[in-house]
Structure formats: structure tokens, C-alpha cells
């Protein structure tokens, strides 16, 4: 009989598939910010399906993770560039994107092979996404921004932003402690940690789904 941890780990794909399919269907009705973010969700769906196929074929699917981290972050930073475009110079955002791309490629070539888990890149990605999501929260608290932005769009973006923040802050801790747990404790404890990580992944996709669901129904832009 399967344990709860195993069920959770197996169920992780479901919210990705549901949210990805929903994003695919609603893509045409979305505003520019949500369209960019939907690209990220659809890309995640493609990676998820590909990794499952490779897993069934008993192939190492970790190279997909390296691609996912790099391309995924570019979509994420593009999304934040859209959300924050009136408040931050595009150069700042794209400089972060270019630097991260260089770092990820260098990391995959010299430090963490594409057949291993790329914790360095994931850690840096988590830090950057946390910074951007916290800054976006603070920005949306500003009265001027509140008064000038469509509230249904803010609500939708807040759900997505919350999903990213919840998942990447938990991931940061997981990536940070997973090696330590393997070295000092047991594999079982490490598995529990990854189960918790999967729960946060599910929470993230639920937040994304709600964010897309609460999208502005009347397009402004």
C-alpha cells in the first residue's frame, strides 16, 4: 500500500497539467502580463510531460531540469518586466536575466553536470524570484499603484506572485538543506523534505490557477 508521501509525489503532475491546459485554452483572452505568465505555465506543462515520458522510458530526465530552470526563469523575469514596467527600468530586469543565463550555462558546463541536480542555479533562481515577488507585493501596497491599476488584474497578479513566493521560499530551504540531510540524517527524512517541497509545488500551481481564473474579464490593454 502506498504511503501518503508517495501519493503526494505522484499527484504533483496533476496541478501542472490542469493549470497548463487551462492556460492553453484561455491564452487568447488574457492581458499581456498574464499571457507571458501563461507561456511559463505552458512551458512547465511541456517539461512535466517530457520528464514523465523520460521517466517511463527509464532515462535520466535531469537535463530537462537544467533547461527548465533557465527558460523558466526567462519567462518569469519577462513576466515581472511586464508587471513592473512602469516602475523599473527594463535594463535592470534584463541585466538580471542575462547574468542569470550566463551563470546557469556556466554552472551546467563547469560545476553541476546536466545529469545531476542543479542546486546552485535553483538556489540563485529562488533568491531572485523571492526578491522580485516581495518587491511586487510592496509595490501593490502603494496607494498610487492601487488607484491606477485595475483591481481585478492586481488580484490576479497577487495570486500568481504569492504562488511564486510560497514555492521559491520553501524551495530555497529545501535546496539548502537537502544535501545536509543526506549527509547527516537519513534518506527517509530527505524524502519527507522533498514531499514537503512537492506540497508547496502543488500550492504554487493552485495559486496560478486561481490567478488565471480571477483574470480581468474585460481587456483593458
Amino acid at each position: 500500500m502506498e504511503t501518503l508521501a508517495e501519493i503526494i509525489l505522484k499527484a504533483a503532475s496533476l496541478p501542472v497539467i490542469v493549470t497548463g491546459t487551462y492556460a492553453l485554452f484561455k491564452f487568447r483572452n488574457l492581458g499581456s502580463e498574464l499571457k507571458v505568465f501563461s507561456c511559463f505555465i505552458i512551458f512547465s506543462l511541456i517539461i512535466e510531460v517530457s520528464s514523465k515520458i523520460m521517466w517511463f522510458m527509464r532515462l535520466n530526465n535531469l537535463p530537462l531540469l537544467h533547461i527548465y530552470v533557465l527558460i523558466g526563469f526567462i519567462f518569469q523575469i519577462w513576466f515581472y518586466a511586464k508587471v513592473l514596467e512602469r516602475f523599473i527600468s527594463k535594463k535592470v530586469i534584463w541585466t538580471i536575466g542575462v547574468l542569470f543565463t550566463c551563470f546557469t550555462i556556466a554552472n551546467s558546463i563547469f560545476f553541476e553536470s546536466i545529469y545531476t541536480f542543479n542546486s546552485n542555479a535553483l538556489t540563485v533562481q529562488s533568491i531572485l524570484v523571492i526578491i522580485l515577488s516581495l518587491s511586487t507585493y510592496m509595490l501593490f501596497l502603494n496607494d498610487i499603484v492601487k488607484s491606477e491599476t485595475d483591481m481585478s488584474l492586481v488580484e490576479s497578479l497577487n495570486w500568481i506572485n504569492s504562488g511564486l513566493f510560497i514555492y521559491y521560499s520553501s524551495s530555497l530551504l529545501v535546496f539548502y538543506v537537502s544535501d545536509l540531510l543526506i549527509e547527516n540524517y537519513s534518506l527517509v527524512l530527505n524524502q519527507y523534505t522533498w514531499t514537503i517541497h512537492t506540497i508547496f509545488l502543488i500550492v504554487m500551481y493552485v495559486c496560478f490557477f486561481i490567478g488565471l481564473w480571477k483574470r480581468p474579464r474585460k481587456l483593458i490593454s
Binding site: 512602469r86 516602475f87 523599473i88 533568491i127 526578491i131 518587491s135 502603494n142 499603484v145 539548502y176 547527516n184
Partner: protein, 263 residues
Amino acid sequence: METTQEIDFLNILLPLLGVIFIIAISVFLLNQHFQKNLYQQKLEREELRNKHQKQLLQSNIEAQESERKRIAKDLHDELGATLSIARMHLMRLEQMHPSLESKGLSLSNVRSIIDSSIASVRQISHHLMPNQLEAFGLIRSLESMIDQINESKQIKIELNVPPSPTKFSWEKELSLYRIFMELIQNTLKHSKATKVEINYREDWENVYIEFKDNGVGLPNEMIHGLGLKNMEARIKAIGGSIEFIEGDGFTAQLKAPIENSNG
């Protein structure tokens, strides 16, 4: 004794604290950047709104002035001319039929009524659009107006102007002229003043005008009245400011840029 199971918490926590510190600093800096941009956007919007309001005010005043000009012209050219023709016919009638006077028809009375009507039309027309202002400029027009008022001996107006004051654009001169008219009219109507002092000085950037009377000051209803608001609107439209000071008498201090800042 240290075992492999023991974890050096300092070694684990320090990098984590470092990461949290980096996140906190970055969020703080980004937030500062947002605030700066927001403040800048707010300033730009305010500036745009002020510019728009100023343009509205200006076009309002321009429309008002052009309407005044049209009425003044119509009064002078049409009514004035009609009255002059009537006067001419009357004079011819007087010359051709001197007996009419003796029959009790007082043509000279009618003529004097027409004369006074012509004078009134001229005065109203001049009041609506002072031709003098266009021909001789603000200071000469003011001097002429002040001379006329001083002739009445009820009040003494003193105008102190530097030897060669700057000549402004027509719009600016007209605005200042209208403000002076309003100020003088208020003093004559409400202040019971016997003396008015107008001090005019300028530097490289601005002209400063002080209007001071020794009257009882303005009545309460005047302080929030249309006259003062009109003056404020006019001076604002030319990029200047006006301040009303109540003390011994009534004082108004005007400041207007010499350069055309209407943009």
C-alpha cells in the same frame, strides 16, 4: 566529542542569514527605486495637470478678451457711428429750420443727449478694450488712467516706476492692466482710502508690483469674491502670483515672470 551526526549550526546558519540579508537589501533597494519612480511619475502628472489648467485658464481669458474686443469694436464703430450720424442730421436740421427751436422743440437738448451718449459709448468701449494699451503700453496707459483719477482730487494715486521698464507681450500687459483696474476699482469703491501707492520694480527674472492703499481694507464678502479670484486667475495664467495682505489698509503684492513662461 564531535560526531558526524552533529551539525555545526553556525556553519549552516551563517550562509542562510547571508542569503536572507541579500534578499532584504535587494528588496529594500528595489522598493526605493520604485518609490523614486512613483514620485517622479506623480510630479510629471502634477506638472501636466497644472499645464493643462493653465492652458484652460489662458484660453478662457483669451476668449473673454476677444469677446470684449468685439463688443468694444461694435460699440465704437456701429453704435458710435450711428449716433454721430444722428447728431450730424440733427445739426443740419437745426441749421435748416432754426424756427423749430422757437416752436418749443428743444433740439439742442436732444443734441446734448446724443453727445453724452457718444461720450458714454466711447468710455464703455475704451473700458472694454483700452486702445491706449496697445499703442503706448502698460505704464503709459496706467499713468494716463491715474492722471484722470487724480484730477478728481478725491484720491491721490502715486505710481513709482523705474526709468525704462520692460515691455511685455500684449497678453501679459493686458492681464496686468486688468488687475490694476480691478485693484483701483476696489479701492475706489470699498476702501475709503485717500492715498494709493503703486511700486513697480523688476530684476532679471521677475517684475514685482506692490499696490498699497491707506483705506479700511476690504469688506469680508470681497475677500472671497469674484474680483480677487479673477485677479488670481489672470496672474496665474501669465505664470505669476498675487498675495493680498490686510493690515493698515489693503496691500496686494504681484510677481510676474518677465520671460514668456506660458509655453
